[in-house]
Amino acid sequence: MQFNTYQTENFHDEMFDEKGVARPEARLLLETIQSLEDGQLERCQLSAERLLLQLGITFNVYGDSSGTERIFPFDLIPRIVDAKEWDWIERGLKQRIHALNAFIDDIYHDQKILKDRIIPEEVIHSAAFYRSQCMGINPPGGVWCHITGTDLVRHGDGQIYVLEDNLRVPSGVSYVLENRDLMKRTFPQVFEGLRVRPVDDYPSKLLETLSSIAPKGATDNPTVVVLTPGIFNSAYFEHSFLAQKMGVQLVEGRDLAVQDNFVWMRTTKGLRKVDVIYRRIDDDFLDPKTFRADSVLGVPGLVEAYRAGNVSLANAPGNGVADDKVVYAYVPDMIRYYEGEDAILPNVPTYLCWRDQDRQHVLQNLDKLVVKAANEAGGYGMLIGPHSTAEQREDFHARITANPRNYIAQPTLALSRVPTLVDDHLEGRHVDLRPYILYGKEINVLPGGLTRVALRKGSLVVNSSQGGGSKDTWVLAAAEGSKA
């Protein structure tokens, strides 16, 4: 396998610098790949894909009535992050999550940040995931966002930006662990000589985080469960994977009942008390008595039991208020307000369409900007200006004018690229990075995260539902003797 035809095409490449020279952290890997016989990389790739199917590492596609499960495509060439850069990312993420958590706690208590006019009140009250039912709730330790999956991107300027915070029920961490496992099984020789930081301890750390938030009355070994909407959910594989790796029960809403304001699960030996629920169900469906009355996935009375402190929920309901893309624009201000520091990781510059001046600019530059609905995820409700048709732009023009609060716009980012196997050769494909942050007694960042890759040539959309795949992410340990 040779790289002589490989072109960075003026994009920031994670493996090569602008002169086409391998970056220091990628050199060893490149040498290994170059030493492979013809066809060997393709064979490894094929066996990895076969393994994914055999192991049933799949996701369900919504709107596909046949209930087809698909594998989340995996590319063998890893993305490498050097120790120094990772150290900076980690500090930035810790700072950001700490501030976001303080913000959520403030919003559901005194709302000081609104009173001090740092964020306009109407932004919060019009946020789709603001939940007035959560006012005054005190989650254990004051932690609201126990598990976060922040989306990071690197732009053409070489700078890493935060794209989204994903505080509600972020998914994808199972692929981080499975990708690493897959790499070790199908392509072990590439690890040689490199000090790739392990990710295998994530389930232990997750269990530790969840156990640490158990209600006061619980034993030292609290009963933790993972709550899933069921096998037809697109992330079902991950739910069962995490339950299995933590050795805890995977429950559905129908397995749980609330009695005397405590939560119980139905077992073959009768009801057993549940202490901590890692819920992978959105707020709206959690409890028909508190949120959507038509939910059949949830548990009636759950939120009251939670409010009474008899059961803990991760993540805490209501934390989606900070997932709103308009609120996102204020995160640097939050960090200054709560932490008294400047943000380490920058935001992508964001135009808020409810500001008249911003809206004018956005409407005049729809062909250059990326427009996003404030409360959508998964790459839906989005316009990528430079790749859009006149018709699509007209549609968004109308939508923005009708509901300016619900739209933001950002410059189109030239996402960085990583070499990716395309048929029998390598081509650059755009990537993002989703690190996972756990917040229990302390804040813990999983080294690496999910590198999603837009497999279609030229595409900037990395979502699994829209032609995205993933790569293993290697965070290198600092060289001995040096301080990263």
Binding site: Q54, S240, Q244, V248, T268
Partner: protein, 343 residues
């Protein structure tokens, strides 16, 4: 830190039980077809007489007649192996076994999941009936796959409550199938008294034994092929793993391991019913069975096994609301539990 035994969710217990049952059912159907394919080479009969009993054994006579009409090799194999609308076809059984496994992936071992998933992927990729010369191999590989699943289950999963539910499902299913094949074949073979003692008779009865993998073991014990001994072996044998007695005894053991009640006592109705059946088989003689009439005896046995099945559901699963589907002739998982599995 000392370990704790995590309680088993009722829904999970139900899924494990049915995973065990459906996998065993797929194996049984594959064996029945395999034996019949082999038998017709020795003993070509008219197709209806050759293949109809397989439909009768599965308990789907009416449904089959409605959809396919006459029994031929093709129509019967299509119905029993590939028909996606027949909840007892091999395809449906493996789909249901896998669906149940998928819903309890965190409880079973990864190896078990990989095995049931690969069997499912295999039948998924062979939705069309292959050329006739491939048929024996197709059904052989399903049997082997099921054996492997059983071995992997026993070797990689703790023999805890969850494992006992898998075993309970498998054993009750196996007892059911052995009694059914005996019932159908006995009824069919007995009237042809002029064949008694002829090579045809010998071949036919041998096929019955082969249908439950009992031929070799029977031979070792009795030598001569004779209906009375065959009934004794398949219903009452204490050592042969597919005899009704053996299956009920081991199912009884698993049920007691689940509840923690000592053997010979009961806490739940299901234990009471299985204990009654077990002690009956413990002390039953083949003369007494023949005296009552084989068909009458096996019919009553079926009713008892159905009662055990439904009381297992009542005792351990029923706290989940169930829909009101009437139990059909062949037992299957209720819709409320099974997501989208059969009936």
């Amino acid at each position: 830190m000392t370990g704790v035994t995590r309680p088993l969710l009722s829904r999970v217990a139900d899924a494990l039980y049915w995973m065990g049952r459906y996998m065993e059912r797929a194996e049984s159907v594959a064996r029945f077809i395999g034996v019949n394919l082999n038998l017709q080479l020795d003993l070509p009969l008219d197709p209806a007489r050759q293949w109809q009993p397989l439909i009768d054994t599965s308990g789907d006579t009416e449904v089959f007649k409605e959809r396919y009409g006459a029994a031929t090799q093709d129509s019967v194999i299509e119905f029993l192996a590939y028909d996606t609308e027949n909840p007892n076809s091999i395809y449906s059984c493996l789909t249901s076994a896998r669906e149940n496994a998928r819903s309890v992936r965190e409880t079973i071992s990864s190896e078990m999941w990989a095995q049931v998933n690969s069997m499912y992927l295999q039948v998924q990729s062979q939705r069309e009936m292959p050329d006739p010369e491939w048929l024996p191999e197709v059904f052989r590989s399903i049997r082997l796959g099921s054996h492997m699943f059983q071995g992997v289950t026993d070797a990689t999963m703790s023999h805890s409550e969850a494992w006992h539910f898998v075993r309970l499902g498998r054993k009750l299913e196996r007892a059911d199938k052995t009694s059914r094949i005996l019932d159908v074949k006995y009824f069919m073979l007995l009237p042809s008294l002029r064949d008694v003692g002829t090579p045809y008779d010998d071949i036919q009865w041998s096929a019955v034994l082969r249908s439950v993998s009992a031929f070799e073991m029977y031979r070792k014990k009795y030598g001569r092929i004779a209906p009375r001994e065959i009934v004794e072996f398949l219903v009452l044998d204490r050592e042969f793993p597919r005899s009704v007695h053996y299956c009920i005894r081991t199912a009884d053991e698993s049920l007691h391991a689940i509840t923690g009640a000592p053997m010979g006592s009961y806490r739940y109705p299901s234990e009471q019913y299985i204990g009654l059946l077990r002690s009956e088989l413990d002390f039953m003689s083949v003369e007494s069975i023949i005296g009552q009439g084989i068909h009458e005896y096996l019919d009553a046995l079926q009713v008892k096994m159905n009662t055990i099945d439904s009381s297992v559901a009542n005792d351990f699963v029923a706290r989940i609301p169930q829909d009101q589907t009437a139990p059909s002739q062949s037992q299957s998982q209720s819709q409320a539990q099974a997501g989208r599995s059969s009936r």
